[in-house]
């Protein structure tokens, strides 16, 4: 089975956000970058699909700056076979342009399954997977929490409000992964050593400018420092009064 996993280098989820002097981007000084957590599920699922098939290849593809080579190495250390970096100068907010660049790389390469995380934890765009699928005219299931593939056909489950959808689809297909699908493995020392020797191809890429113009990136309004109503059950009556009369939510 031939599997592609699209991954992204993102700031660690613990990052304290500081806005850069342009007022439109993140100040990256001192920020630690990681493999997007949702993409870890995608890498893990790709490895499992290959292991189950007993044969095949897992190719990780990242669109990003030169430093994303490190992110690709993380996926290679988990067990992926080779990596491709679509190297760009900085990323922009238009997910469709990201999808076009990825689709151009994926097109005609004969992948049976293309996996992506359901979203990236930096831009929260939540759209690149299904856009790639549309551009390649492939079936797609998003936010997958359970997956079974047997003989060219797949069944997936995805959470919807108040339930779970069970979805049937044919291969080749694009799938986006959600938490709950699997437990991603930690790269073992052996894997980390092996990853250094795995092929990593760098291709300069220039996505289009897109049609979204960033006006500003700002910190959200601080929530008003709240008040401690009191201690223990004795404070409950006052809390309920405040919720009714001050906050007016009851």
């Amino acid at each position: 089975m031939k599997i592609a996993v699209c991954i992204k280098r993102v700031p660690d989820s613990e990052t304290r956000v500081k806005i850069a002097s342009d007022g439109k981007s993140l100040d990256e000084a001192g920020v630690k970058f990681i493999l997007n957590p949702y993409d870890e599920f995608a890498v893990e699922e790709g490895l499992r699909l290959k292991e189950k098939a007993g044969t095949g290849e897992v190719v990780v593809i990242a669109l990003g700056p030169a430093a994303a080579q490190e992110t690709i190495r993380t996926a290679l250390a988990m067990g992926a076979d080779r990596g491709v970096l679509l190297q760009t100068q900085g990323l922009h907010p238009d997910g469709l342009e990201t999808a076009k660049a990825l689709a151009a790389e994926l097109k005609g390469a004969g992948f049976d399954v293309i996996l992506l995380g359901k979203m990236a934890i930096d831009d929260y765009n939540h759209q690149v997977g299904p856009m790639v699928a549309e551009l390649l005219d492939l079936p797609c299931v998003t936010t997958v929490t359970h997956l079974e593939i047997v003989g060219g056909k797949g069944t997936a489950e995805r959470e919807i409000e108040g339930g779970v959808e069970v979805v049937a689809f044919p291969l080749p297909a694009v799938l986006t992964t959600d938490k709950g699908l699997n437990e991603p493995r930690y790269p073992a020392l052996k894997g980390i050593m092996a990853a250094k020797k795995k092929p990593l191809e760098v291709k300069p890429t220039a996505p289009g400018p897109g049609a979204l113009e960033i006006l500003s990136l700002t910190l959200p309004p601080e929530r008003q420092a709240g008040k401690i109503v009191g201690e223990g059950p004795a404070a409950v009556a006052e809390l309920v009064r405040l919720l009714r009369e001050e906050a007016k939510v009851l």
């Binding site: 989820s13 990052t15 956000v17 806005i19 993140l26 907010p93 238009d94 997910g95 469709l96 342009e97 934890i121 929260y124 939540h126 759209q127 299904p130 856009m131 549309e134 079936p139 998003t142 936010t143 929490t145 069944t155 959470e159 919807i160 409000e161 108040g162 339930g163 779970v164 959808e165 979805v167 049937a168 689809f169 938490k179 049609a211 979204l212 113009e213 960033i214 006006l215 990136l217 910190l219 959200p220 929530r223 420092a225 709240g226 008040k227 401690i228 109503v229 009191g230 201690e231 223990g232 059950p233 404070a235 409950v236 809390l239 309920v240 405040l242 919720l243 906050a247 939510v249 009851l250």
Partner: protein, 326 residues
């Protein structure tokens, strides 16, 4: 000015509540754009949809139901095709979806078909000089990104619970047309529904969430009792710590790797307030924290806090809420 299209959702032949928010948001934007822009509401279904006749009161000038035997359940490819065709035929300037489980899947497909960018999960929208400006949380809600969209149609999805439905005294015209089409290659074969009456945390107006402070999965009955006291308006949520421990299903998890919620009232019980948890609930209108540690970070975002043992505080709160609801 070209019109705004609100793409709505139905389940089992009834309009979903989030759709009223979509119509409200679409109306607000149409009014901001000016020039007499109208709002059309679009529903895909197998036949007449319950609640469609109410949409005029939320701002729809025209309600169009596209019917096809394949449109009972969500059919990603069939829906995307029918909607993209509708957008092209209608020459819409703006298309608005809900950032629900379905909307977040459907909107990118329609956008890609139309070759247009998508601003997903927005919390605010305005217009300036005829251009749409949308705001959305990024970096787990730690920052807000404002973008201007060039060209048309402008594709947006609205975060649930943010665009509070506003009623106005007006009826919308109803139209129904059967359309050609099929479900496509991706088929929803079954919906495993949660027990009847359970609200989803992402859509409930009140969320009562529990964390590791609950100490044991069985103790969640304390929170279920509190939620029940709100008479069908509250859902029980959970921190990742208790979801990872297997105490609660992942569907209930609030936070960066769970759901983003914006209820009117969020009650955090025995939850410390880790940054990844805050990512999922900081846009709630009012936050209440109950925690025995007065230094817990959750108190920094809570509007109201009670320092104390949840096993003493919550039952008392449940009693008081029950009294309110008679």
């Amino acid at each position: 000015m070209s019109n705004v299209l609100a793409v709505l959702e139905q389940r089992d032949g009834a309009i979903r509540k989030v759709s009223y928010e979509v119509v409200t948001g679409a109306r607000r934007l149409a009014d901001a754009l000016g020039g007499g822009a109208g709002v059309d509401a679009l529903i895909l279904a197998t036949g007449p949809v319950q609640g469609a006749d109410q949409l005029g009161r939320f701002g729809a000038d025209r309600v169009v139901t596209l019917t096809n035997v394949a449109f009972g359940r969500y059919a990603p490819e069939g829906y995307a095709r029918a909607i993209a065709d509708g957008v092209n035929a209608g020459g819409y300037g703006v298309v608005v979806f809900a950032a629900s489980a379905t909307g977040k899947d459907l909107a990118p497909r329609v956008a890609a078909r139309l070759g247009r960018p998508l601003v997903q999960d927005i919390t605010d929208v305005t217009a300036a000089a005829g251009a749409v400006i949308a705001t959305r949380p990024v970096y787990a809600g730690k920052a807000l990104l404002r973008v201007r969209v060039a060209g048309s149609p402008v594709m947006l999805s609205l975060r649930p619970n943010v665009f509070t439905p506003v009623q106005r005294p007006k009826a919308g015209a109803q139209e129904s047309a059967s359309v050609d089409g099929s479900a496509g290659r991706v088929i929803v074969t079954q919906i495993k529904a949660a027990p009847a009456g359970t609200l989803d945390v992402a859509e409930a107006p009140i969320v009562v969430s529990g964390g590791r402070g609950l100490k044991d999965p069985a103790n969640f009955k304390v929170l279920e009792a509190l939620a029940a006291a709100f008479a069908g308006r509250a859902a029980v949520g959970a921190s990742r710590a208790v979801v990872d421990a297997g105490w609660r299903p992942h569907a209930d998890q609030v936070g960066q790797t769970g759901k983003t919620v914006s209820p009117t009232l969020y009650v955090a019980v025995g939850i410390s307030g880790a940054i990844q948890h805050l990512a999922g609930m900081r846009t709630s209108k009012v936050i209440v924290a109950i925690n025995k540690d007065k230094d817990a970070p959750i108190f920094k975002v809570a509007d109201y806090g009670i320092v104390g043992d949840l096993f003493e505080v919550v039952p008392r709160l449940t009693e008081e809420i029950r009294k309110l609801h008679g």
